[in-house]
C-alpha cells in the first residue's frame, strides 16, 4: 500500500511540475513549488517506512520546516520589486 501512495505522490509531483512549467503567471509557479514541497515531505515520510528505517524521518521534518522560507523569500522579492516600481507607496502593504 505504501507503493500505491508513493505512486500517487510522484504522479502528483509530475502534475505540479507541469503546472510550474506551464505558468502562466509567476504566482502559478510559486504555487507549484509550494505544492511540490509538501509532496516531497510526504514522499520522504512514506519512503522511510517503505525502507523500514523510520529514524530517517528527520529529512521530512527538515523539509516541513524549511520549505516556508523559499515562499517567503519570493514574496519579499515581489514586494521589493513593487516598491522599486512605485517609489513612495513602498512597503506599506
Amino acid at each position: 500500500m505504501y507503493y500505491a501512495v508513493t505512486f500517487a505522490l510522484i504522479v502528483t509531483m509530475a502534475l505540479a511540475l507541469a503546472r510550474a512549467l506551464l505558468g502562466p503567471t509567476v504566482y502559478d509557479r510559486v504555487l507549484a513549488v509550494n505544492m511540490l514541497g509538501t509532496k516531497t515531505v510526504l514522499l520522504l515520510a512514506v519512503i522511510t517506512f517503505l525502507f523500514g528505517r523510520p529514524d530517517f524521518l528527520d529529512l521530512a521534518l527538515a523539509y516541513s520546516l524549511i520549505n516556508f522560507i523559499g515562499v517567503l523569500a519570493v514574496l519579499e522579492f515581489f514586494r521589493g520589486r513593487a516598491r522599486d516600481e512605485h517609489p513612495g507607496d513602498g512597503g506599506d502593504r
Binding site: L15, G23, M35, L57, F68, L75, F78
Partner: protein, 112 residues
Amino acid sequence: MTVFATLLDILSWLLLSVGGLFVFVGGIGALRMPDLYTRMHAASVTDSIAPILIIAGIMLQAGLTLASIKLVAILLFLLLTGPTASNALASAALLAGYRPGNAKPLDEEARQ
C-alpha cells in the same frame, strides 16, 4: 495477529489510500483549473486533508514510537506552513492586480 491489529491495519491502509486519492485529485485540479485562485483552491486539498490522512495512516503503522512523535511534528508544521503560504501567495497575487474569475491580470504589463 489479533482482530484489533487487523482492524488497525485495515484502517491505516484505508487512510493511506484515501489520502493518496486526495493528493492525486488535488494534483489534477492544480493542473486543470482555469485560473490562479481556483488552482490554489485545488492545491490546498493536497496541503491540508491529504497530509492528515497519509500521516495518520503511517502513524497507525508505526505505533507508539519516536517515529510517531516525529510524524506528529511533521504534520503540525505542514498544517502551519501550508495554509500560511497559500494565504500569503493569494494576497500577494491580489495586490499585484490578479482578480478572481479573471484569467488575465488587470494591468497587462509583462509581469511574468
